[in-house]
Amino acid sequence: MNTQTSVLNIQDLVVDFDTPDGVVHAVKGVSMAIAPGEIVAIVGESGSGKSQIAMSVLGILASNGKASGKILFNDQDILHLPRKELNSIRGSKISIIFQEPMTSLDPLYRVGEQIMEPLRAHKGLSRSEAKKRALELMRQVQIPDPERRFKSFPNEMSGGQRQRIMIALALANEPDILIADEPTTALDVTTQAEILKLLAELNKQLGMSIVFITHDLGIVEAFAERVYVMQSGEVKEFGSTNAIFKTPKTEYTKTLLDAEPEGAKEPVKKTQDIVLETEKMDVVYGHAPRFLQKDTRFHAVKDTSLRLHKGQTIGLVGESGSGKSTLGRALLRLTESTGKIVYLGNNIDKVPLKSLKPLREELQMVFQDPYGSLSPRMTVLNIVEEGLQTHKPQLSKVERQKLSLSTLEKVGLDPSVRNRFPHEFSGGQRQRIAIARAMVLQPKVVVLDEPTSALDRTVQKEVLELLRSLQSEFSLSYIFISHDLAVIKVMADYVMVMKNGKIIEEGVTQEIFERPRQNYTKSLITSSFNLKELLSEV
């Protein structure tokens, strides 16, 4: 592809960040060309520099960042343009949607107002003209009842709707290029499918090029025509999507393609002991109407019964807000609930929290965020041995440390890291530490709340392997909470589908995935696994 036929041509782009620890080379001489109307994906793991390319194109690098090289938009170098001239291009000819629909919109202004802004700034439309166009755009991105939604504030909308508003904003001036930086990562799978479908339609209708930045190869395969694979600031490989997926040339691309979770879990025998059981569990947040106060009650979990056998993994799936995390916490009595909870034949729902303490070592939890759930001021060894101090006070210091170090080894961490602090580790390593912290107590039940959602795919695969081997070694029972059906499919032998606080469908994994009965389950499955068919309808 030569320069004449490309709308965006990036040549030898270098992005450096000046940090207190020295200069960080985020992008190291990247070149790429985007043709008019083309959908191109930039794939890579976190820290590969893919987002920084987008930031450089729009001139919104962080203040300590410096870009050099050339970024040609219709043969004009826009990298070194003064702000005023750049302002006439960004938001008008090139626009962007970001990953975080929560924070990318100004929370203090109505969404309609925000769509009007680039219209007024670039085209000089009057208020009423801009409003008319904004409503038209909201209709185009399929926001129901745009007249009413025009006056909404971002916090009154769901993540998917906010991302639609962001797209409306991006389309406002009919740009030649739309850069989408992980636009669906923060969304549920069904919402993700809808947004991708919308983008594909808009690409067809308006003929604009789309640069899609993502770490999700499933999306790339279904959505993009060409792919650039990036690793640590460099383009490792590029070509048509088909070619890259069928005949990857570099090792790195192969590992990426290989990183899709695989395997399956055999169902446990019905005769296995029941470890944890609940009946008619309800969790209600908020309070009943009181004097001068409204009813704030919210029924997070409704009438839920669950039976976890020894060695079993129950996969809990559902969209965000469906109550799956609340259920997980309530099972361990970390959240107040009503209904029966039986652990190894003992009723634990009425036991005072204090006398529950001895049981805590057997009922463990691993959280989604490996950054927030480890104390930043404790060393790895302290973090892992802390539980032993409480639950096994009879152990001497030496025994305790020995046990902790062997657990660290078991989760695949070198014991020599014992004196380091959490911030010195990558996300995957941190999640290993969190797992070690749970496992050192030799639990019987572990609630895993989205344990791999914050991790890159290749790392996710390793962590899933680890969880599997720990399960078979200690015949652990897992409650595996995830919105990612691909992970549930390979990890769980029994699946429960949650919606609005209720279990709407449950059964053996294979059965649920092959013969889902509920429409909701069906749409979850299609959005996760048949993205390609869904998009080919466009």
Partner: protein, 305 residues
């Protein structure tokens, strides 16, 4: 919103009532009384005077009489300014104190927000360092130091402004500036911090990525987010100005209510103490209410229903 405002006004009443009750009884626990003088009065005379003010009645009865009068807008006679009622005395000084405090607050807000924004936009450059230095100076220097220095320079040395008195605009300048300076400094620092944070936020990145003019990015989007913490500070600022004005009114010899604060407490002028406490408490409570209501206007996420 109206519903919320109404509810908040309703809660002001019991708060105020609690303050009044507490002050009333605390005042009486304190040793001494309004008629203790260096040469003690003859017991019969003292008894007569106390009887005429109703101070010989049981304390609880006095309390209910006071509350009854208060509900009719009468704060009782002053024990020191014997020919006047307390509310008459306060009504003379209150407009002056409010003008002084209000102007200082407005000044602090306008200059503080402006300087803070300029500093944030020029982070770590010379302008920023200069403004931060000024703000640090302003916060650490109490206004009873600033006031005499300003008087020395502008009134005594250069004779540009009058040193004392109240009435003409030129007489307002020195007291208002002395009172406002520490507040300007605090608002500047607050604004600088919140503006820096606002400029780093994702929605500002969006505004920049969409090529909105810089005046728009800063003046509309960043400014509004950055103002929120400053707005929350206005409640405490109003209280600080109220107490600050006690000193300033003394230094510049202004006929506001500040002077009654100290003198009435020292003289055990029971009714006058009650009067000043009620006025100040009401002002602080109302001001906090106004701030909370303004907050809902500025930040749509805050909804009181």
């Amino acid at each position: 919103m109206l519903n919320y405002a109404f509810k908040r006004i309703l809660t002001i009443i019991p708060t105020l009532f609690a303050i009044i009750t507490l002050t009333f009884f605390l005042m009486r626990i304190a040793p001494g009384g309004p008629f203790d003088e260096e040469r003690p009065l003859a017991p019969a005379v003292l008894e007569n005077i106390q009887a005429s003010y109703g101070l010989n009645k049981p304390l609880i009865e006095q309390y209910f009489i006071y509350i009854g009068n208060l509900l009719q807008g009468d704060m009782g006679p002053s024990f020191v300014y014997r020919d006047k009622r307390v509310h008459e005395v306060l009504a003379e000084g209150l407009p002056i104190s409010i003008t002084l405090g209000g102007t200082a607050l407005l000044l602090a807000l306008i200059i503080g927000v402006f300087l803070g924004s300029i500093a944030a936009l020029n982070q770590n450059k010379k302008t920023d360092v200069f403004i931060v230095t000024f703000a640090t100076f302003g916060i650490t220097t109490p206004n009873y130091v600033i006031a005499p220095i300003l008087t020395l320079i502008f009134a005594l040395t250069f004779s540009i402004l009058p040193a004392t008195g109240w009435g003409s605009p030129s007489q307002m300048v020195l007291p208002v500036v002395s009172l406002a300076l520490p507040q300007i400094a605090i608002v500047t620092r607050l604004m600088r911090g919140s503006m820096l944070e606002a400029l780093k936020s994702d929605h500002i990145r969006t505004a920049r990525a969409y090529g909105l003019p810089i005046t728009h990015v800063v003046g509309k989007h960043a400014m509004r987010s950055a103002l929120l913490p400053v707005l929350s500070y206005l409640g405490p600022a109003a209280a600080a100005l109220m107490t600050g004005s006690i000193v300033i009114e003394q230094i510049f010899n202004l006929p506001g209510i500040g002077r009654y604060f100290v003198t009435s407490a020292l003289n055990r002028d029971y009714t006058m103490v009650m009067g000043t406490v009620i006025i100040v408490a009401t002002l602080v409570l109302v001001f906090n209410l106004i701030v909370d209501l303004l907050y809902t206007v500025l930040d749509p996420r805050v909804r009181y229903d």
